[in-house]
Symmetry: C2
Subunit: 225 residues, 2 copies
DNA sequence: ATCAATTTTGGAGTCACTTAAAAATTGCGT
DNA sequence: ACGCAATTTTTAAGTGACTCCAAAATTGAT
């Protein structure tokens, strides 16, 4: 059953609202734009906006479902002989090479990130989004190993993998927002990612062990570069 | 300079508001209680409530600073010869033994958890709180090893340690809310925690490696129990 | 062209939260 | 005990996100 005219118009309206909203948000900041303004700019009523989007934040995160579907895709499409971590590592480096936005690492993501940072509510929403991704990882992993529904391990592995991704992305945006050159930052993230995924595979070991005698911490070469 | 009468009354008022609010929230659910009701029950004006608490959620999370100060305490007080992970592990098991609430694992935390779950805004706030804890871990670790301010490793280790704690706590509340007996759940969490902290130290390895021939995933004994 | 289903709109209301200024309370010096 | 200055509380008015409901407009099929 193909898409009727009614459905097409609905989709178009939704998209138009989201696009116009994003334009305003990026230009003036999330908190400085009211839903009423978005509605006016999109030439619809406020109620129509809320008809398509549950909250104002959803206007900003219209494409977040692509982020949430990432874990399942990566885990399911891992190659023969490839472990979960290896698959994620490969996909991450692939995004780095192609400049894909799926891990929040691409040209122009810094304005986006700045706008998020400015707004408490938006930051909170993004944080929740990250938790959802973790949950998706967990479910995908549980399926992949045919685990019991109440098996702890997939959840642990998911949380740890997601931590690595989140940390790398955050690091990218921080350096980018500090004004560093794109190529330089990407190069830096490449090194960071190698360290991070290694640590994910081999563990944090005895990081920050306090020496018995002196009280000075010993930095082991296990995790530290 | 000791506390004047004025400051004492302020503190008392604040505490009274928080206590009354928490009573109402636990009894009737966070979203079913308005700030106006809290104010009326505490016999103050709405603006007085907002004078002491920035948001409605803060009324529920009055003691959250104790959670946020936990990382620094645990890391700084780690014993001679003890690594970061070992210190956290010990502190976690200690809380388990003494029934302390600092990791959200104690009798009666299930009503609390249920009330959080019911409310989207409250869940979101808790999620942000967890991120703050992660950041505290990172800063404490960075201090502990005298790391560069832009060293990646403390952040990675912090994220992973925090992941473990969050996962264990979530698992506890899920089982508790499912009606399982307290002692039984605590016993289960003890086993879970052992697995989780081991994995944190030694890594997730090649979890969920897909076998070359069959396409069937192999569960390695490295991480899996 | 007509009718039923769907989409959009208008209007009234709730609630969290802000701002500014008046009013009440309190601590302190005399 | 009294009055003054600082602090706290309240009052009042408003903003903005979001909900609910019913009226109006649009659309697809006949």
């Amino acid at each position: 059953m193909e898409e009727g005219l009614r459905e097409r118009k609905k989709r178009e309206t939704r998209q138009r609202i989201a696009d116009i909203a994003m334009g305003l948000f990026l230009q003036r900041g999330f908190d400085n734009v009211t839903v009423a303004e978005v509605a006016r700019a999109a030439d619809v009523s406020v109620n129509t906006v809320f008809n398509y989007f549950q909250t104002k934040e959803d206007l900003f995160l219209d494409r977040s479902d692509e982020v949430e579907s990432l874990p399942r895709r990566v885990i399911e499409e891992r190659r023969p002989g490839e472990s979960a971590v290896q698959a994620v590592r490969r996909d991450f480096f692939d995004a780095l090479d192609t400049g894909d936005w799926r891990y929040g690492i691409h040209e122009g993501s810094d304005l986006f990130a700045r706008r998020v940072r400015e707004s408490q509510s938006l930051s909170a929403r993004l944080t929740v989004l990250d938790y959802n991704r973790e949950e998706q990882f967990a479910r995908a992993l549980a399926d992949a190993v045919d685990a019991d529904p109440d098996d702890l391990t997939p959840w642990l592995v998911a949380a740890q993998m997601n931590s690595v991704l989140r940390t790398l992305t955050r690091r990218f945006t921080i350096r980018r927002m500090a004004g560093e050159d794109m190529d330089r930052v990407v190069e830096g993230i490449r090194l960071d990612a190698t360290l991070a995924f290694d640590q994910l595979e081999y563990g944090v070991g005895d990081y920050a062990r306090r020496q018995a005698d002196t009280g000075t911490p010993v930095v082991t070469d296990r995790v530290q570069t």
